[in-house]
């Protein structure tokens, strides 16, 4: 059993509403199975500070193909109007069993 780890930071460009952004990371040998966890995140209102209604930071595996693991991060950061731009990053920890 060989376990390997990769971290991959996905930038959240400035914008509003719920965001879904794909990322990928590559291992040195074929991946048998993999999953993903939150390594860290930053969500930052672009203009000053605001109340908060919702905070979300989530990760999902999309697919495993050869040496590559494709994943998706989803996030939301808003007050009641969902009209304030935010940016930041989500860093995913990909854990894989490799050959």
């Amino acid at each position: 059993m060989a376990i390997e780890f990769r971290t991959s930071s996905v930038a959240i460009p400035s914008g509003t509403g719920r965001r879904s952004i794909n990322g990928s990371t590559t291992f040195g040998s074929p991946v048998k199975r993999a999953n993903v966890a939150l390594n860290g995140f930053k969500l930052d209102y672009a203009s000053s500070d605001h109340h908060i209604n919702v905070v979300e930071a989530d990760t999902d595996i999309v697919s495993v193909s050869g040496n590559t693991v494709n994943f998706r991060v989803e996030c939301s950061y808003a007050d009641k109007n969902f009209d304030d731009a935010y940016s930041g990053y989500i860093t995913a920890l990909v854990v894989a069993e490799v050959e």
């Binding site: 059993m1 966890a37 109340h51 908060i52 919702v54 979300e56 930071a57 939301s76």
Partner: protein, 407 residues
């Protein structure tokens, strides 16, 4: 004249497959009682007289390990390198001192097996069965109940070096006590592992266990104690796989060979455990054992020895119902096999004020492993989302990623 060509009877294979059920159903190879099925009263004085079922093609090709001429399909060097960890299970000779009714197995040379670690010995499960072979095992005093399989095991020992030297002289055998029955017929497979006293593997060596099955046609070597005789060697190719079993149609065995490791050549690894006879002069007949792939799927001991544990993942999303204050919510995930250890991480979360937006005083999303129980991992998530008053209800989810080392 013994046959010298050790090739599988592949030309008979189509027919054999058509009748595979009748050819796979043979009794386990417990030792035959003297006088049965052509076995002489004193088998050790007349081994050449033994020609009975389990002899493929009607002629016994086996040879004493230290007199092997290298013609059976593996080299002399291979046999020399792998014969020492092979031992013989024998009932102790004090059964009458222990039991009112010791049965008729006192001091009987019983099965074969192989050292797979410094003190673990792999053999066949039926060597510790409470019935079979026409033998009478000891009874629990004052009852008609046969002692347990675990107690059967501790009433046996293992003989190493029970073999003749190149000159044909019997070597002094060395006895090692059995301490416990570690695994027995797990998954209803005919294998067992016993723990021996001390560290005999340091003296006699250890045979490596393969982490996957061999292929049809690969060469096998069985180093064995057929009919309780001093150690002998036979070899031949794998004939066929059938469910959990591995068959070979040109490797002669006898009662007492049960439990022998099926050694793969040239790797020298154990790819199965010999259990059953069945060879005869009939086309398609063969002896067979349990293949290692099936055993590995059931045996935690072998899984650990071979490093056959793997990593697996589960995610579980736990909803956070509307409410205030710090929340603690438990959940469980189930894996396809036994979990040895596990950890949990945050896969994602969403925390959402039910009523409009508010300041934030605290935000928390946490995960913990609570317990591991068989195939299941119980976890807990904790979260908090509040302004300074902790009076605004929130809802959302926390998704946990459970990472486990499993069989």
């Amino acid at each position: 004249m013994a046959k010298k060509t050790k090739t599988s009877k592949v030309h008979e294979k189509t027919e054999a497959h058509a009748h595979e059920h009748e050819h796979w159903n043979f009794l386990p190879e417990l030792p035959l009682r003297p006088g049965e099925h052509g076995l002489p009263e004193d088998v050790e004085s007349d081994p050449g007289a033994i020609v009975i079922e389990s002899i493929c093609g009607g002629i016994d090709d086996s040879q004493p390990v230290e007199q092997y001429d290298g013609t059976l399909g593996v080299t002399q060097a291979f046999v020399s390198a792998h014969q020492r960890p092979v031992g013989q299970l024998q009932w102790n000779d004090n059964l009458a001192d222990i039991y009112d009714n010791p049965g008729n197995v006192n001091n009987v040379r019983w099965c074969t097996g192989t050292l797979i670690s410094r003190n673990l010995f792999l053999t066949a499960g039926h060597c510790f069965d409470r019935t079979g072979g026409g033998w009478q095992r000891p009874l629990i005093d004052g009852t008609n109940t046969v002692i347990s399989s675990a107690e059967i095991a501790t009433n046996m020992h293992v003989n190493f070096d029970f073999q003749v030297d190149p000159g044909g002289n019997l070597r002094p055998e060395q006895q090692v006590a059995i301490q416990s029955l570690v695994e027995y017929r797990l998954g209803n497979l005919d294998f067992a592992i016993v723990r021996l006293a001390g560290s005999p593997g340091n003296t006699f060596g250890i045979t490596e266990v393969a982490d996957e099955d061999a292929d049809e046609g690969d060469m096998l070597c069985i180093i064995q104690h057929p009919a309780g005789l001093p150690k002998r060697i036979e070899a031949g190719p794998i004939f066929h796989f059938h469910d959990s079993r591995i068959g070979y149609d040109s490797i002669d065995t006898l009662g007492g060979s049960s439990g022998s490791g099926l050694l793969h050549s040239p790797s020298g690894r154990i790819v199965g455990v010999h259990t059953n006879g069945g060879c005869s002069t009939t086309a398609g007949s063969h002896n067979h054992g349990v293949r290692i792939g099936a055993i590995l799927a059931q045996s935690p001991t072998l899984a650990e020895i071979t490093g056959k544990r793997r990593c697996d993942f589960r995610t579980i999303s736990l909803g956070v119902p509307a409410g205030t204050g710090r929340r603690s919510i438990q959940g469980a995930v189930s894996f396809g096999s036994r979990v040895f250890q596990a950890g949990v991480a945050l896969n994602g979360f969403k925390l959402d004020y039910v009523n409009s937006d508010h300041h934030i005083n605290v935000i928390e999303a946490d995960t913990d492993v609570v317990s591991i129980n068989g195939n299941s991992v119980n976890i807990r998530v904790e979260c908090n989302y509040a302004d300074k008053n902790f009076d605004d209800p929130y809802t959302g989810y926390v998704t946990a990623l459970v990472i486990a080392e499993v069989e």
